[in-house]
């Protein structure tokens, strides 16, 4: 019983209050093609491609953030090795996305622990932890479907908890750990939403390719630097689970000393960085194991987000084995949900 019905009851009336207004059926989502029945265990082109609407950007503390929205859509969450489809709920009005990056270097910050509180005229409409996600056009971002209260001006309070479980190096050392909060305006309208591009793609759906990255956006995307752009020497690139792993060796003061082996996993086609996976590395020299450890997640201004291990030196002839122990713990938009789940050990020889 809420206050209104209580007071009504206390006053001896029988009014049950006004009936609520329910959201209109989403024509776009109602028309979404079903998930393909024969998806490859790899990156594939989704059944449809949606645009999105950039709403606002802001910065506070160590972070910059942007909020965008699109049609509500299905996505898949990943816990350990379990993939769970999250269908669109009847009251979902929009898929709200938040991007978080370093305003100084424009490096995208994964794993920043993001929740959003949506308010309208200071009334709370929703508050949720939003998931780290991978989509083909946007790469790494945070997102979830939300019910809204119709066409209105909303405030999205983006609460950033700060990096967790990620080491920071170089000029990033000690940054991104303080929590902060950024208020962004979101002017949502059913009509404007219907103007967001939407295309069914039956001719390409299921093909082993990806929707192009939205590089025209005035916002940094989580695209991993190419091997050429990375500092140090490239040991090689290995591939498994349809992900590519660029292995780089560098000597620099900001790392523990000796040689820092940086492994930078990225998606095929678009080269989007893939965060939050478990990775072990063994380095064998002659018949001896000189390194056998789990690699830690590192955010570095030059390498970006990668997995690193430090050893005295890599020598010519060393055999590197990489093993993915935990698949990337990020939710997936359509086209990524069957990829990056099952991995074989990778081996590279140091030239």
């Amino acid at each position: 019983m809420n206050r209104r019905t209580f007071l009504a009851a206390a006053a001896g009336t029988t009014s049950a209050g006004l009936a609520g207004c329910f959201g209109l059926l989403e024509t776009r989502t109602a028309g979404q093609p079903p998930v393909l029945s024969d998806r490859p265990d790899a990156v594939y082109h989704p059944t449809h491609v949606e645009g999105m609407k950039m709403e606002a950007m802001g910065r506070s503390g160590d972070f910059a953030a942007a909020v965008m929205y699109s049609y509500p859509h299905r996505f898949w969450t990943v816990s350990g090795s379990t993939v769970t489809k999250q269908s669109i709920q009847s009251d979902d009005a929009a898929h709200i996305m938040v991007a978080v990056w370093d305003p100084e270097t424009e490096v995208v910050v994964p794993d920043a622990g993001v929740s959003i509180a949506v308010t309208k005229d200071d009334e709370v409409v929703s508050e949720e932890v939003i998931y780290p996600m991978l989509s083909q056009p946007m790469g790494f971002h945070y997102g979830a479907n939300f019910g809204l209260d119709g066409t209105a001006n909303y405030t999205v309070e983006v609460d950033i908890g700060g990096l967790s479980g990620v080491e920071t190096t170089g000029s990033f050392d000690g940054r991104f750990t303080e929590s902060t909060s950024i208020d962004l305006d979101l002017s949502y309208s059913e009509a404007e939403k219907e103007n967001i591009s939407y295309e069914n793609t039956p001719d390409r759906a299921g093909d082993q390719t990806a929707v192009s990255a939205m590089t025209m956006m005035d916002m940094p995307l989580g695209i991993a630097p190419s091997a050429d752009e990375l500092p140090g020497a490239t040991v090689g690139t290995a591939s498994t689970g349809d992900a590519e792993f660029v292995v780089q060796a560098v000597e620099a003061d900001r790392f523990a000393g000796g040689t820092h082996v940086a492994v930078s996993p990225r998606t095929p086609y678009n080269g989007m960085l893939i965060p939050r996976l478990g990775l072990e590395m063994t380095v064998a020299r002659d018949d001896e194991t000189v390194f056998d450890e789990e690699l830690g997640a590192v955010l570095d201004p030059e390498f970006g987000y990668h997995y690193g291990g430090d050893l005295d030196a890599l020598e010519s002839g060393d055999e590197i084995e990489l093993r993915v122990t935990i698949p990337p713990q990020v939710a997936r938009h359509e086209g990524y949900e069957t990829a990056f789940l099952s991995f074989e050990p990778m081996t590279l020889s140091v030239a």
Partner: protein, 438 residues
């Protein structure tokens, strides 16, 4: 459902709403309404009277367990209805002896009016660090009472700095409202007993949130009050659940003892500290995205889910959630099950094998939102901080599966909005104490 049951639920819901709204009109409506009905609801039963002999009551304000009923497993069952009143001292400087006497007299009036039990009335009076700031002398080292602060990296709560918090609890919503109105000076008699004094001239008592907070706990109350924001329409809050999240809590073995939370020495020996946070609950994903097995996994531990340890709301667990047995496998669970449980993480904060906080938390519909007033007493606030730190599990985020708030217990669904720390002095010093009472 039989007609009498249906009436009973309407009435329970009505009483809970009356407590949430408060004030004399709610009290009159509550009393009038229960008088109108001729069934055997608890509010029609006379509320047991208290005692003229204050020395017959325990010296510890927090000595509630002896006054609470137990369930079949020996767990103490907290009173159903709760009000928290955050108040400020109206005077300048230090309180006077007269004011102290007024407060003590008002509290003793309540103790004469109501039996010290959940059928009657249980209450505590607590004082914040800000209250003690008015004195020249600091609190003694035997009292561990820092200013409230954010306790995880991902929260940004408003910090409660009122001088005083009064916690009233009763199974009878009418008794609770009567006691509140009597403390405010809005009624002269409570439960047939005349008040000798009220707090109105000494404390500025609140009428509305956030100063006035309300709540409830107990079988059925959450399910009956699920029409609030934060609980999705599709949610099936179990009828028998005492709390919104669908499980029992406060198992005897997972609670500190009253002895364990009592300050052992110094001028406040016999007292305790109280932490109260207000937590907004957002249970859409809890109830819609997750199934019961996943909820068990995140509330207790993955092993409980795998082994089917928890039936329904967890009545079968007896007096121990068993989450202590999951502590050793927490790192392994993070990797293999991809998540860790709330109780499993919390159980890491123990002293001599026993938890260090005594939870007396309750759900709420304040502001029309599903919420939880997480109230706990402990010897020192650092015991709470240690427990909260273990519960937050930020140390576990090295494993890729565990993020600050995802797959990390119930942190995806709980949003801490306010925190406050208070000292509950022993009964002898409960009225506007100095930092060094004699």
């Amino acid at each position: 459902m039989r007609p009498s049951e249906s009436r009973g639920i309407d009435r329970r819901e009505f009483v809970k709403s009356a407590v949430a709204i408060g004030g004399m009109s709610a009290l009159s409506a509550c009393l009038g309404r229960s008088g109108d009905e001729n069934d055997d609801d608890e509010d029609d039963v006379s509320i047991p009277a208290g005692t003229d002999d204050p020395t017959s009551l325990p010296d510890r304000q927090h000595a509630w367990n002896g006054a609470l009923p137990s369930d079949d497993h020996g767990n103490h069952v907290l009173a159903s209805h709760h009000v928290l009143l955050y108040a400020d001292y109206v005077g300048d400087g230090a309180p006077t002896a007269d004011e102290r006497e007024t407060v003590e007299s008002a509290l003793q009036s309540l103790e004469r009016a109501f039996e010290w039990s959940s059928e009657g009335l249980l209450f505590t009076v607590g004082y914040s660090p800000r209250y003690f700031d008015r004195f020249d002398e600091p609190l003694p080292d035997s009292v561990d009472l820092p200013e409230p602060a954010a306790l995880t990296s991902f929260e940004d709560p408003d910090l409660d700095t009122n001088d005083v918090v009064v916690h009233l609890a009763s199974d009878s919503g009418a008794a609770l409202l009567e006691a509140e109105e009597a403390l405010k000076g809005n009624t002269d008699t409570v439960n047939g007993v005349e008040m000798d004094a009220h707090l109105g001239g000494v404390l500025d008592l609140p009428e509305e949130f956030p100063g006035r907070r309300t709540g409830f706990v107990g079988d059925g109350l959450p399910a009956e009050n699920n029409d609030v924001s934060g609980i999705p329409d599709e949610a099936d809050v179990p009828e028998e659940s005492p709390l919104y999240m669908g499980f029992k809590s406060g198992f005897d073995k997972n609670q500190a003892t009253e002895d364990g939370v009592t300050i052992p020495e110094g001028p406040f020996a016999g007292g305790t500290t109280q932490h109260v946070s207000r937590i907004r609950l957002r249970l859409d994903d809890w109830y819609v995205e997750q199934d019961q097995e996943e909820r068990v996994s995140e509330m207790f531990c993955p092993a409980h889910a795998e082994e089917g340890t928890v039936e329904g709301v967890g009545e079968n667990l007896g007096d121990d959630s068993g989450a202590g047995d999951c502590v050793e496998t927490i790192e392994e669970d993070a990797r293999s099950a991809g998540r860790v449980g709330h109780a499993q993480k919390t159980a890491r904060a123990r002293r001599d094998g026993r938890p260090v906080i005594l939870r007396r938390d309750f759900d709420s519909t304040d502001r029309g939102e599903a919420g939880l007033h997480f109230l706990a007493v402990q010897e020192g606030i650092s015991d709470f901080v240690a427990t909260k730190t273990a519960m937050a599990g930020e140390d576990l985020t090295d494993t890729p599966t565990i993020r600050q708030r995802v797959n990390n217990g119930i942190q995806e669904y709980t949003f801490v909005k306010r925190r406050g720390n208070f000292l509950l002095p022993p009964r002898t010093h409960r009225a506007l104490p100095t930092p060094r009472p004699e």
